[in-house]
Amino acid sequence: MSAAADDQFYREYILDHYKNPRNYGRLEHPDITHEEDNPLCGDVVGMDFRVEDGVISDIRFHGRGCAISQASASLLTERLKGLSLDEAKKINKDDVLGELGIDISPARIKCALLSLKVLKVGAYGLAGDDEE
């Protein structure tokens, strides 16, 4: 038993983002929409973007999955709203993991980065790289 460690892993605000996801839902007629899944565990994250003058003016995510993938998506949408696409482009793996602020094991790293993959592939058409 290591309840302290669990609590450390599932920090309050991660559980909060999981239970009360921000920007959850769909946009009508989004400018960009993209969905990715993690076939290994069945996590799904999709995002709808409204883009005005190169700036993400509105964003929604939908999906299902574990606390890590859903909290990570929720956190990412909060960060993305109001950002220019150019700024959004600079967001990387370390930013996303840093935002989660917990120690992610290799097996869960794909969960944590699924929303970033949606951003990358959806918004920039970058090939998803499963090696990361």
Partner: protein, 417 residues
């Protein structure tokens, strides 16, 4: 079926209740303190198995069949001895019917290539089930696409058991091939394989049974079963990774062309053409997994010594215990049939907690739990879930490990409350 009793724990009689405490001493990994509840994925391996491999590596390490010196003869004898052990274990008619592969997946692919490409044609029907593992689905999807054949899947009822009415209807349509698992790895359902094979044979189909989850956990008699092909993996039955078995009825294997080609599966190679070796070597091209096959032989000895009836009885006891303990947990949904009609596999979901999160929390308590689709995505789609949590048991599983699982579940519920 008579069983060899080599390699047995001293004094124990086969099919006496398992002495789990004694068994656990054969598995050094338990000294790490883990509760290993993922044996349907891959089993642990006792010292007897790794010891047999080490003996090969340190005493008679050499290639088989090809050499004229004693250590190579020793290696060959040990390697071939596994064939007879496996033959007896599943009661095949001849060692010619026992082909070594890497595991269930390669065994099924071998059939899909070497039998399927020759026998499945445009318009043919292949019958699978929604309970099947990807390894018994995707090779047939590829074959069907290549040949213009089509596939129908037998559905399950609300208890997670195959709909036999639907199966009977599909047989009316004269399928060329029927393939299904004897035990579902995702839900533990034990299918009424003997009846299903008999009906399928009567309908004129060739029948492949995926024995990945049955061979390790219950007595198997392929002749009583009556199937044409039977596939399983060594690594799920205490053997090492890298070695598995395809059983095939001799007439069918004889009529098949080789799958892979190269050293050792030939009689003569000439520029003008080549003649192939006799069964079973026709299907074993190149240097085989020698150490692993020898290890598999030791695993069969180990299981035979325990007795497969006793193995099944122990797992049933653990499964009943787990089934009850989990039924008492609030917000927990159990999938599949009751313990008496399932193998040592319990698949479940927790309200509001994703299986992956549960597995991570369990892992903090050194409880090894599987979370995911269990390579059975069509079944997950059918159940309307993306993933389940799964605990699975084996000869070394103790009730105390089930208690630890329940503890982890409660811990997860506390965190996610």
């Amino acid at each position: 079926m008579t069983m060899a009793i080599a390699g047995r724990a001293q004094g124990a009689l086969p099919n006496q209740p398992l002495d789990v405490a004694a068994i656990r001493k054969d598995f050094p990994i338990f000294e790490t303190g883990i509760a290993y509840l993922d044996s349907a994925n891959t089993s642990q391996r006792p010292k007897q198995v790794t010891g047999a491999m080490l003996e090969y590596f340190e005493k008679f390490n050499s290639n088989i069949h090809r050499a004229a010196y004693r250590i190579a003869e020793e290696a060959t004898v040990r390697y071939e001895a596994t064939r007879e052990k496996v033959r007896a274990f599943i009661n095949a008619a001849s060692t010619k019917e026992i082909v070594y592969t890497r595991g269930t997946t390669e065994s099924i692919n071998l059939v899909a290539y070497a039998w399927g490409r020759k026998n499945i044609a445009q318009g043919d029907l292949i019958v699978l089930t929604i309970l099947d593992h990807h390894s018994n689905i995707v090779p047939w999807q590829i074959l069907a696409a290549e040949r213009g054949a089509h596939i129908e899947y037998v559905d399950i009822d609300e208890k997670g058991e195959l709909r036999q009415d639907q199966f009977a209807d599909l047989l009316q349509r004269g399928p060329k091939l029927v393939a299904f698992n004897l035990v579902s790895n995702a839900m533990g359902t034990i299918n009424p394989a003997r009846d299903m094979v008999a009906a399928a044979k009567k309908a004129g189909a060739t029948v492949l049974v995926d024995g990945a989850q049955s061979t390790p956990h219950q007595p198997v008699d392929v002749r009583a079963l009556g199937c044409d092909f039977y596939a399983f993996s060594g690594h799920k039955m205490l053997g090492p990774t890298g070695a598995g078995i395809l059983y095939g009825r001799r007439e069918l294997l004889e009529a098949m062309d080789p799958f892979m080609a190269g050293g050792d599966m030939i009689k003569t190679v000439r520029i003008e053409g080549t003649t192939y070796h006799d069964l079973p070597w026709k299907f074993e091209a190149g240097t085989q997994a020698i150490a692993e096959v020898i290890g598999l032989g030791a695993a069969v000895d180990y299981l035979s010594a325990l007795g497969m009836d006793a193995v099944r009885a122990h797992e049933l006891e653990i499964t009943e215990y787990a089934y009850e303990a989990l039924s008492d947990v609030e917000g927990l949904t159990l999938y599949g049939p009751p313990p008496s009609r399932r193998a040592g596999v319990v698949s479940f979901a927790l309200e509001g907690i994703h299986p992956h999160d549960l597995a991570t929390i369990a892992d903090r308590d050194q409880v090894c739990l599987r979370a995911g689709h269990h390579c059975a995505m069509p079944l997950m789609t059918r159940l309307g879930v993306a993933a389940t949590a799964r605990a699975s048991f084996y000869v070394y599983t103790q009730k105390e490990e089930v208690d630890r699982l329940v503890g982890s579940i409660k811990e997860a519920q506390r965190i996610f409350a």
